[in-house]
Symmetry: C2
Subunit: 202 residues, 2 copies
Amino acid sequence: MSTTPTAGRPRDPEVDRRIAHAALDLFADTGWAGFAMETVARRAGVGKASLYLRWSGKEALLTDAVTLRLARVADVDTGTLHGDLVELAAQMLDIYAGDTGRAALRLSLEAASIPGVAEHYEDMRRSQTAAARAIVRRGVARGELGRDVSVTLLLDTLIGGAMMHALTTPPERRGELARDTAGHARRLVDFLLGAVATPVIR
Amino acid sequence: MSTTPTAGRPRDPEVDRRIAHAALDLFADTGWAGFAMETVARRAGVGKASLYLRWSGKEALLTDAVTLRLARVADVDTGTLHGDLVELAAQMLDIYAGDTGRAALRLSLEAASIPGVAEHYEDMRRSQTAAARAIVRRGVARGELGRDVSVTLLLDTLIGGAMMHALTTPPERRGELARDTAGHARRLVDFLLGAVATPVIR
């Protein structure tokens, strides 16, 4: 084992990040069936003791890796509906066009049957849904969106449209998309707001 | 083994269907790692010999099960853009709200690394994309859609929106959705065509 930090030494955030990276990549490749502390340690280039110093077990490790690399939607509040929706769509494109896409898909398949991760994943999904709905509600309150607009349809088509675009972009063009997720996010939001936005005097 | 058909006996389509059902369900549960002829036979309530009489191996069996239970998009041509898009969205909802949803998700994750299935899955995806694009092209030709509409954005939001709706509907309400996929498909298409359709004199 190459590194064996003593209990008193402060944790190195760079090592934490490297471990989270290795953990999510391993989960993407093998799913829960192949997820083991030892394999994560080897992929991250750290000792197994290093992992057990930080996490009590693989459920806690995967939960932290998911939190660190996948969940950000709750923070979105740019001040305009258009800005918020572009940010939301860009985050989905970042997840699904980037190297976290397969891990996110696997989670939606397997999370429910992984003890500890199931509850965390449900909480994350619920808070993301709440954040997305708050974006639309603020848009209605600011008069950017009519009161009769279906929040469900708007968010299904926005989030699903971003995800579908990332998943159906051929591998050889995915890098190009990953470098300009904001550009595609804007085109997607302009397309959808054409259907439902209230004309606003600017 | 309960049934061991002799080589000359005609195949029973009901047995084929039952086997395809069991095969896709097993794949949904365990992925390729747990996919075995013996387990499919047990789940379908037929003998292993029965399976080998029909399929040379598990790649061929999974390929047939996928074809039988998942792929229908190519057939859509109702005569109107609205009708075609509703049919397309309803098929996506049928797949993802029904018991084939997890198998379809797993395929998008694992198909590329399963020999034999990879090529078939790519062909299927390509022909579905071509069929969806043909729907939009016919709509433009009939004057139901402007020539400047982004086919990509329309199909991403339609197909992604249907998939996202099915996946985020809570399990306890998924049965309700599965019984009225056509109703939700109509609402989704009406929402999207509000953004892009050319007003047509009816």
